[in-house]
Symmetry: C2
Subunit: 418 residues, 2 copies
């Protein structure tokens, strides 16, 4: 079976104006990839009916078996995706009374929790219950139903814009009989993820290994301080893919931290859980990012106790008990302060391991000896510790993001080598 | 002058596979909007030369004055954007020795800080210094130079993929003489941002106000617990735009929290700074998100002292001094515990104001009386306090995100009404 091809159409003037970052196309693409469907193009257009209509027509003409849309299903006048999809598919629309009843039930509960009058929602409810005839209606999760709409032999999947609603509706998409013939298994692949290696060195090793063989397709992607190598291959090219993977592994073995898609946060929590170790944080420039990222993972609470956000030096001194002399002699951004912060958090929260981050995120606050981007990380555990000093380039957001990532890696390395 | 039209082409297999969320198109769109350029379409394609070539041709044919690309400038074999742009523009490429020297200087510093051999980067350096003849070369910020490439009367702006590099290169784009004729002022607009109002009620009020007049274009966008109304208008339709803005303001005045694009975090910090009040956080389910979001703003340290991430109940009790009886009788997710957490953080850090968040982010941990999505927020200030209980729908990430947003709003409301 050839892999089915999909295109994604994201609608929303707020996206084309840069007011909202689109995370839906990434979610949809990842999920489609899991089912062996290849996304050939993602397009974002504004809310105008002509823009959405043009986008749908272009993508249906591009040879996609499946077009997935996101957004434009709300109750207000400028949400027109469902009508545009019906037109592109050549189908009339009609009010679906059963869907209306489901929406009204949702709205009643929501209005009650807010103390607003359900009648205020009537016009919107009827609008949202008007769907293409012959479509399979999905949800609603919020108040906006989605749909799977046949367009000849092609399919248009219509999903709401709010990311949480879209994600919650997704299992209905996958289960739909209208898509059963398109969804297959994922294409075979090898994934290698490295930490602390320059991207161009990975490129050189790839060239030395002979590059892609017939039937393999390698991508090398750098983000945060990590590099991800994905080697996709045809089933009959498994040996060539293994040759590449083995070559990378031999060359970068110590830097390899994962051979699958699991998140760094999950890897760190899993490693700590394997030792029955708990974790606390002491965060200055990252101000909670490290803990917040760990807490994204369900069940993080079995490992993560919490921590101290020590943004002000007084908090480092009074709450984390960093000695005043350390702050005075070495400064708050120093290996010594990072170490004292980690020890302080470990003592205060009674955790097995604590990680501290202190740095100069910028744009102000830098000096010749301590420039913007300078970050110290320290991890303290039972009888072990590990320190890292880095100078990250880029914006305040990048420095904080990379600092949090390297803090998580330092915890991982401490546990690995302990 | 008619507004110039732009299209954005984001390249990267990792985006079409959903491994990376594209934030660059949002950044570019927001910046172009500030210069009065209207983005008509954003497209993402994979790294293949044919995909990038097709994307460029489609967008150049779409009537865009300007196509901005992002990504595919790295040192490895699968980064081919610059060559594709040269081909689309009908220009040859050549090694630019001055650009090579600039890259080598950057790489030397980077290699030194990592302790790697600069020679490992040679091949990549030469590849990255090969640019279209006649292009204006930008940067490099990292090691990848960007470019502004003339394509007949159209322009192609070629930017790197790493968001921090792209952002740092942007001022060079805006300053380029090759783009001077396209960059104008922003289209006049009114912005109204509401908190705590149902989207469909805003739609109804909009309809009652008569909807858009000739020359106005209103978008209503809900995200997190907020609604943003943007009324764009032709200069000669200022009165009609004012009529709409006045109507919304009259109806939703108490819910209106901003009439511009400033971020909620900035608004909260500004409000606190106006009273010379400092802030501390006590975060359970959000685990640092509230503080991390505030710390995104440069200069946050004049207001934000830090706080305690009290993920485990022991930390609530031992560090924040939430009475054991409160935790036992009411549970960690209760108005009483939220209040004690806020008071504890205020006392421990010596801040004027403290905000506490405790809730059940899910997917597990819910019960009949305390379902997933239940969140209590409490803000304590000098002689004032304010509490909020909400039940948010959606995923773990959505519950945490909305909780953090409503915590920031609750601080804002406490300061406003104090």
């Amino acid at each position: 079976m050839t892999a089915a091809r999909a295109a994604i159409l994201v609608t929303g003037s707020e996206i084309l104006l840069g007011r909202t970052v689109d995370t839906n196309s990434s979610f949809i693409a990842r999920e489609l990839d899991r089912h062996g469907i290849r996304v050939i193009r993602t397009v974002a257009v504004d809310d105008h009916p002509t823009s959405i209509g043009d986008g749908l027509r272009d993508l249906l003409a591009s040879g996609a078996d499946l077009v997935v849309t996101s957004g434009g299903l709300g109750p207000t006048h400028d949400d027109v995706t469902m009508a545009c999809v019906a037109e592109a598919a050549g189908l009339p629309v009609a009010l679906d009374e059963r869907v209306l009843a489901r929406i009204e039930q949702k709205v009643a509960a929501f209005a009650a929790s807010r103390g607003t009058d359900p009648a205020a929602y009537d016009r919107g409810n009827r609008k949202q219950a008007t769907v293409p005839v012959g479509a399979e209606v999905l949800g609603p999760v919020g108040t906006a139903p989605g749909a799977i709409v046949p367009a000849g032999s092609q399919r248009i999947v219509v999903l709401p814009g709010p990311p949480a609603e879209l994600a919650q509706m997704w299992p209905e998409v996958v289960a739909s009989p209208l898509l059963a013939s398109l969804l297959g298994g994922a294409q075979p692949r090898r994934v290698l993820r490295l930490y602390g290696v320059p991207e161009s060195e990975v490129g050189d090793v790839f060239a030395d290994l002979g590059g892609d063989a017939d039937g393999t397709e390698t991508t090398i992607c750098a983000s945060r301080a990590e590099i991800e190598i994905v080697i996709r291959h045809r089933p009959d090219a498994a040996a060539a893919a293994a040759h590449l993977a083995d070559g990378f592994r031999e060359r970068f073995g110590r830097s390899l931290f994962a051979e699958g898609p699991e998140r760094l946060e999950e890897i760190v929590l899993h490693a700590l859980r394997g030792r029955s170790w708990t974790l606390a944080v002491a965060e200055s420039c990252t101000a909670g990012l490290v803990a917040a990222r760990l807490a994204e993972v369900p069940g993080a609470s079995t490992v993560l106790l919490g921590g101290v956000i020590a943004y002000a030096d007084d908090v480092k001194r009074d709450v984390l008990r960093v000695p005043a002399a350390t702050l005075r002699d070495h400064g708050a951004v120093s290996a010594e302060s990072a170490r004292a912060m980690a020890e302080g958090a470990r003592r205060l929260l009674g955790s097995d391991v604590a990680v501290a981050v202190t740095g100069i995120a910028g744009p102000g606050g830098g000096s010749d000896t301590k420039p913007v981007g300078l970050v110290h990380v320290h991890v303290a555990g039972p009888g072990v510790e590990r320190a890292l000093e880095r100078r990250w380039p880029g914006t305040r957001a990048a420095v904080r993001d990379w600092s949090a990532t390297s803090a998580l890696h330092l915890v991982r390395l401490l546990v690995r080598d302990a």
